[in-house]
Amino acid sequence: MPLAAARPRRRGGIRGGEARAGWLFVAPAVVITAVFLVVPIALALWVSMSDWNGFQSPLSPRVNFVGLENYAAITVDDGLDQRNFGTAVRNNLYYVLLVVPLQTIIALLLAVQVNRAALRGRGFFRTAFYFPSVTSTVAIVIVFQFLFTASGAVNALIGALGIDGPDWFNDSTGLIHGLLSAFGITSPPPLLAEPGFLGITGWEWLAGPSVAMTSLIILAIFTTSGTFMLLFLAALQSIGSEIDEASLMDGAGPVRKFFSITVPMLRPTLFTVLTLGLIGSWQVFDQIYVLGGTSAGGTISTPAFLAYRSSFVDLEWGQGAAIAFILFVFIILLTLAQRWVLKERSPRKRVAVVATGTVEGGPR
């Protein structure tokens, strides 16, 4: 009883208005989050489950709830929509598989190089490597289009080596298919010829990135490595020189130092870079849009582009929103998985290292 009596008194006391004042102070942030994030996402979810055709408000009474129909049309119902989605997922999967590891490795190597105290003209190299990142993607795509035309600079260069270059942005041959045809395999074994996951045959799933997509992969690595180099560089500079010296005293060579000292200490940055890279490459859109999206046999289309195309061109707004939502959930799942993989499961490991250390130290 005394406790219960105390409560109202406390509420009416000097701290009585705190909660209200608190809400007042966070109100702008809450309103902005709601208007620009919560409401749009909720609306998108609604659109993805409605038959809205892009005319007037999606909340008008003419719009009907259709449940999971839009999701079914792109995932399980046999047809063009399903195959377009399957192809887009296939294309983007190869894009991610190549872009994310390559851009991370190149960014890290560049960062280590421009971080060396002995390097002359460090400022120049840092600027040079970062430059593509501050240039608009659209401008770079257009430059690449000139470089990679059939008679462009790239083909002139490899032509000098006696190689007949492909028509990069228009070539729909998958790299793995191309490799297989070098061994005389040009048609699928019967097992792979049947339509499989998302309506795409196993043979098509295994096509690899097309030559056109490969050009875009090179472009993506070129533009984003600089940004991630900057992140790595900042992290490298926070590694104190005493750690370098300590590893030197312990007799670690440059390679050993890199893998045993530098990389583990960059783990948080590595997580950031991989996450940003993963999200960015599952959302790739600008390059595809500039190139028209449907060229090269449909091998450069991605889910993000397809979401745009279904909505604005084919007026299937529900399907467009459904694609966007699948992508959204997929990216979250991937990020969680990656977080789990990169989590420090350290205590036991560290103990083990210490233990071996003692054993090794023993005979000495």
Binding site: A44, G297, F312
Partner: protein
Amino acid sequence: MRTSQWSAVALATGLAVTLAACSSGGGAADGDVESGQELTMLIGSSGDAETTAVQEAADAWAEETGNTVEVVAANDLVQQLGQGFSGNNPPDLFYMPWDQFQSYAAQGFIEPYAEDLANAGDFLPALVEQFSYDGQFYCAPKDFSTLGLQINLEAWEAAGLTDADIPTDWDQLATVAQTLTTGDQVGLSMGREYARVGVFMNQAGGSLVDGDTIAADSAENAEGLAYLQELIAAGSLKFPQELEAGWGGEAFGLGKAAMVIEGPWINGAMKNDFPERKYISVELPAGPAGPSTFAFSNCWGMPVDSETRGATLDLIEFLTSDEQQLAFAEAFGVIPSTEAGSAAYAEQFPENEAFVAGVEYAASPVAFQGAAAAIADFNTQLEQIGSAEPSSLLAPLQSNLQAAYDEANG
């Protein structure tokens, strides 16, 4: 985290709708409020010549009636239209592309105003049919174009060909294309898309839709593709992509192709980009089943329940009048959409006679609701035309069109 950027776009649009709904005050009354209106017109322009001509025409009307018209040249017409409609803020008047018309009509986006026009009876019957949905004439055809065969006269003479050699059937076309093919020049080029390739399928007697059934995988269509494959195999037909050109007209202007299949819009492009190119346009050679060409047309679209209906109708009547259409024809080469206008055009521009002659036997490309996606997929498949069997190109088209047709009519 920028996770759902694109879903957010879809949603932000929805949000914009809600906001726009709150601010849609001040609507004009229906009927004959004919002055003081501020109209917006969205056009998909072929270039400066077209934008300027349309702007001038709109200004002339505005001055006369006391309204104002803002002409906006779209970068991407279909996308900007979609955005306008989903934001509940469509332009008062816009170019309605032929391949989107059926979808827009079926979805109830556009106003069926055409029968209320004073000049509703003047349009060419084929165009009235193209812009009718469910038996109702929806929107006024803006103008139209047909496809013809352009011949580079220098290359023609250099190959020792004369007027008597102008091809009138498939065999002759194959022969002259072969003759004109040299080391750095291919005999014939055209866009690698249904809107060009489909002409040959029609000339062989095929069509994608036969009455109420989808007939994309017919033997006639396969014959049309097979003919093109012969030309490809002979090396006398290459597509602009293979010639490093953006479209047929560019390949033609650059001298990489001696003949192309394009419409009257090529005249404007040649005048601007390749003024030294000497060429003529002739009717397309006939196939085994007779002559055929495609007619393309846009119409003047008006959003449903437009608040500016009265003023917009008046503007459309002005823009589709014979005099105004002939002025457009002079400015950027299109053919007037009225019977009297097109006849006057043939007299006034004898060099474009071939395009007008094509009206007699022109077909409209297939464009029922949902067909656009199937056609887009077919265009993608056509990249394999050099190596694939015609039937394997047409089979997916058949099933995709069938699915779209069932959905549109189901």
